[in-house]
């Protein structure tokens, strides 16, 4: 049972929850950039939770499913067809054996997730099937998918048998993407970083009221923010300390860098902010050229919002599982 990659799309890679616990060896977590979208795609196909899905970037891949499969697409608004038939998003869909799924461009957002029942079952590396493209760890030394790749599909756990037949069959219900995809691109919550107080007054002001543009040089490691140079009151000489996804660093150029899923585990630039974990999936969905704005938040607010989302997500995953069992 396998899926063949016919066309790789712009940047498609296998991702799961990532690889926590190895930072002391210099290995970051990586994993899906939009965690909730990845989790919901898995839930929609009836996976148990930790399976790898394909993270597509801006333009999705084309794939052939050797056997009958159940797939789901979440995250960015992506064009998806089998033949001339459009495939709906935020639901699951039965594909007959031999189906070629063609994913196209995205009209909103930057990253879409394709999950398949059973998950993409490549060999885990350090406990994860996630491809860390920066550290080159994961499937085929952590590289993006290429045409010709053949990905094994895992055995699906106790789930309703696949329907027989040769018709595409989407579920008769789908999720409302609104709570999980920010069509309005509202400002991202940011906590003060260790060196925030050392920004000059105008830079502090700009960080909370101004806007930046997400550079085309952005990737899974970092989002570079162009458009306004920030300055420290005096230069800072720092020694390397821990770095995290969400950390907003200020290199000498004055253009802030937001570290993302493949952030290195250490860094030596001033940390001027920390983007709330709750809002990292929204940052992951911004496209190069999009406006990035921040609003100041506190750790308490960030924890409260994160807990509330976690609870909503857990409940939704349970509801999906129940509905899949009793259609």
């Amino acid at each position: 049972m396998s899926v063949s990659i016919l066309k790789p799309g712009l940047l498609s890679s296998l991702q799961d929850a990532g690889r926590p616990g190895h930072a002391a060896l210099g290995v970051g977590r990586a994993g899906a950039m939009d965690g909730p979208a990845w989790q919901l795609a898995n839930a929609l196909v009836g996976n148990q939770g930790g399976e790898a899905a394909i993270e597509c970037t801006l333009v999705g891949p084309s794939l052939r499913f050797e056997r009958a499969s159940v797939i789901a697409l979440t995250g960015a608004v992506i064009a998806a067809h089998v033949g001339s038939q459009p495939i709906p998003l935020w639901t699951s869909c039965f594909l007959p054996a031999g189906s070629v799924l063609q994913l196209g461009g995205m009209t909103h957002g930057c990253r879409a997730y394709l999950a398949v029942r059973g998950g993409f079952d490549v060999t885990p590396v350090l406990g994860s099937r996630s491809s860390d493209l920066h550290a080159r760890i994961g499937y085929e030394h952590g590289r993006a998918l290429r045409a010709g790749d053949v990905l094994p599909i895992g055995a699906a756990a106790a789930l309703p048998a696949l329907p027989a037949g040769n018709d595409l069959r989407p579920l008769h219900w789908s999720l409302d993407p609104q709570p999980w995809f920010d069509f309005d691109r509202r400002p991202l919550a940011m906590l003060h970083g260790s060196h925030w107080s050392q920004l000059d007054k105008a830079s502090k002001q700009w960080l909370s009221d101004g806007s930046f543009v997400l550079s085309k040089d952005s990737n899974r490691t970092a989002g570079r923010l162009d458009g306004h140079v920030l300055r420290l009151q005096a230069p800072l000489e720092l020694i390397s300390e821990a770095a995290l996804p969400g950390t907003l660093q200020l290199p000498p150029s004055g253009q802030p860098i937001a570290l993302l899923a493949e952030a290195p585990v250490t860094g030596g630039y001033p940390r001027i902010g920390q983007i709330a974990a709750m809002d990292l999936p929204r940052l992951a969905q911004l496209r190069p050229g999009d406006t990035v704005c921040f609003h100041e938040s506190t750790l308490d607010e960030a924890l409260t919002r994160l807990a509330a989302r976690q609870q909503r997500l857990t409940q939704l995953v349970e509801t999906i599982a129940q509905r899949l069992e009793h259609p």
Partner: protein
């Protein structure tokens, strides 16, 4: 001397313990001792040592008290108590000998480094192999060790034109630090030699040859020994 530890909440699930703000053997030893102590007492914490600080990653929901106590405050209190109580045991650290073929195609910057230090090439090798090093932290790339203990005479600035591809195993000097590139990586440090040892192997049960806190010494080997050891090393 023990310094007051500063605590800083970095993120919802991350607390930084800062022991100081210098690259210093004693400060780093405190970091390593704290990491060992916390790992043994609170195994669910992820401890990530750096030069003078220790990052703790934790599950904020597991650390939130039933009374709604803030997870960071609760963790901080437990960590402070654990570090106050820690046994004054000296940690038996491992010592590893790293064979290095210096100069030539293996260390293309060796002559430049020697000229920059006002020493001859043999003296640079002698001083680099004479020193006792300590792995301060791993970072930059999987398994990349930042080593403390470089002879101050060997400190040289980083290259103005960083290389796109530094060969795996390259032993290099950047400022007052020395390190080893575990894989082919871009890098701006000066390359003085290369080790045939494999520093990082994801398929091994212990993927990194080195860990923070390890002691390291370099031993000069000739080209033939380099080739033999390389052929004998797995992968």
């Amino acid at each position: 001397m023990e310094h007051e530890i500063q605590f800083e909440a970095l993120a919802e699930d991350a607390l930084l313990l800062r022991f100081g703000e210098r690259i210093d053997v004693d400060l780093n030893a405190q970091v390593q001792a704290a990491a060992i102590s916390l790992r043994s007492r609170i195994p669910e914490l992820e401890c990530v040592p750096a030069y003078a600080s220790l990052l703790l990653r934790f599950d904020p929901w597991a650390w939130a008290g039933d009374d709604g106590q803030h997870p960071h405050q609760r963790l901080r209190a437990v960590v402070s108590a654990t570090l106050r109580d820690r046994d004054q045991v000296t940690v038996a650290s491992r010592e590893l000998i790293i064979p290095v073929c210096y100069g030539g195609e293996y260390g293309p910057d060796l002559e430049e480094v020697a000229a920059c230090c006002g020493l001859d090439v043999d003296t640079v090798i002698a001083r680099h192999t004479a020193a006792n090093y300590r792995v301060a932290m791993l970072g930059f790339a999987p398994g990349f060790p930042y080593l403390l203990g470089l002879d101050p005479q060997l400190a040289v600035p980083r290259r103005t034109d960083p290389r796109q591809r530094v060969p795996a195993g390259s032993v290099a000097i950047g400022g007052s630090q020395t390190g080893i590139y575990p894989e082919v990586l871009p890098g701006g440090w000066q390359l003085i030699g290369r080790t045939p040892l494999r520093l990082f192997d994801v398929t091994a049960s212990d993927p990194s040859l080195l860990a923070a806190g390890d002691r390291v010494r370099f031993r000069a080997i000739d080209e033939e020994t380099f080739r033999q050891l390389l052929a004998a090393s797995p992968g």
